[in-house]
Amino acid sequence: MPATRSLPRPVAIVAAGISKFGAFPGKSSRDLFVEAFLDMESSASKGMDARAIEALYLGNFSSELFEHQGHTAPLIAEAVGLTPIPAVRVEDACASGGVALRQGVMAVASGMYDVVLVGGAEKMTSLPTAEVTDALATAADTQYEIPAGFTFPGFYAAIATAYMHRYGMRPEHLMNVAIKNHENGALNPNAQFGVSISDWMQSRIAAAIKKGKPAPTWQNVWDFLHDDSANPMIAWPLRLFDCSPITDGAAALLLVSAERAADYTDHPIYIIGSGQASDVPLHGRSDLTTLSAARNAAQQAYQMAGVTPADIRFAEVHDCFTIAEIVATEDLGFFPPGDGYKMAEDGVTARNGAKPINVSGGLKSKGHPVGASGIAQAVEVFKQMHGLAGERQLKGDVSLALTHNVGATGSTCVVHIYERKN
């Protein structure tokens, strides 16, 4: 069991921004980061002077493979006018963003810096899909897992198979997560696939009619999601709509010490808990129905924050696949093992439920630019806590939230807990 740690001094988020997520042929990760940075600057309610920023921590998984560009952090710093501050790239696969945030938190908490920019950026759509799959596969064990023909959907499918076997879940239950997250994403103007599955289905029917083809006979979203032509099997039991998309995007946060927070806003969002852990590849584990790194990281964060899972008002979790959200809600202690899928089915995790999960649309609908995803989760927390979430704004108390960001199949997990104190 990890020892309880505390931050040497408080750290707050005072500004947060995000680019549009999607596929943008003309834009590099630098362009996307500039978009996120400008959005962040406009979110500081008392304004901000970028010249106060002392360091950059940037989450980026694989600009080498995706853009043929290494040494990304100084280039990003230059693009937003921050040269000559130290610029550090952080890589832990799909958890790169969350781990960059944690590095920034530690840098401010230690007293080394008072004002730090943390961000994430990934440009994924310039490669053909098969090469993106190859690039993402490098986050797994390329000596022992990939030669067998495993893919990322395959890993999470094996997790789903083990989970179904133990708890009696059926593939249909996974669809509840996809339906919910697309409904949330439909209210997020930055989302890549910001459309409900029901509207998606209607537009497919309309398109068929327009082309003079026979109209599909789907009566409802369940028909649509069970149709192999509309929702093809990727890796049984996971279908296309169980998987997050390939995405270009960026996100940015401004972290400051408590003494400096009032320069930027009257409502700083304090990071009161931070935890991170690693784990072996899937083949070294004794249980596939849980990610031990997530349980470990969550325990560290809860202990540091002095709060319990029941205290958390809403959470953004790493739903790279639908099964991942179900397992996450159990690993984070929101629900007992084996109950996560029932809670999704019963609407407990819906926007108007008792424990809203992925109000932003999650990775599933908002998109998953891997190095930016962990930062984008924190951006959603900031927006919800500042009442800036537009149509998807949560009603009621949003003063305590959690983010959960996973690398690969849980070889890395990082968890943060946020509080708005006034």
Binding site: A148, G149, T151, I159, A162, I234, W236, P237
Partner: protein, 135 residues
């Protein structure tokens, strides 16, 4: 130039050669030279029996480059009778549906079609169901 131990053992590893810890008897696969159970050096080679059972599995329909000719194919985490889990493709499945708990045994098969051109491994272990003996 000295060829690293890692490289020399590469072929053996793909024949399911692992290690056994001389200090605590833990069987290691993949081999890693440091025992995860007791933290001490573990370089003694150990031949796994190749027998085990399906711990979990999936059938891949959207095959990555080099695996298209096998698609759809079933990959599994196989729990070896000595303890460790191995990631492997299942083969020779016939009509019998795979289930968690299906007994399987190791065979050597072609792994991917483009191994030579990409300098990647071409042959290695797969697992097939243990045929029920007929009486």
């Amino acid at each position: 130039m000295e060829i690293s131990r890692h490289w020399r053992l590469r072929k053996q590893r793909y024949a399911l050669v692992g290690e056994v810890c001389p200090h605590c008897e833990a069987k290691l696969f993949p081999p890693r030279d440091v025992c995860p159970e007791c933290g001490q050096e573990a370089k003694t080679l150990y031949n796994f029996s190749g027998r085990g059972e399906v711990y979990s599995f999936t059938t891949v329909y959207d095959a990555p480059a080099g695996y298209e000719e096998f698609s759809p194919y079933t990959v599994a985490l196989v729990k070896l009778e000595e303890g460790p889990l191995v990631t492997a493709q299942l083969t020779d499945l016939g009509e019998q549906p795979v289930q968690i708990g299906t007994p399987v045994e190791m065979v050597t098969r072609k792994l991917r079609s483009d191994g030579d051109e990409r300098g990647m491994l071409v042959y290695g272990y797969k697992f097939r169901p243990v045929l029920a003996s007929t009486h």
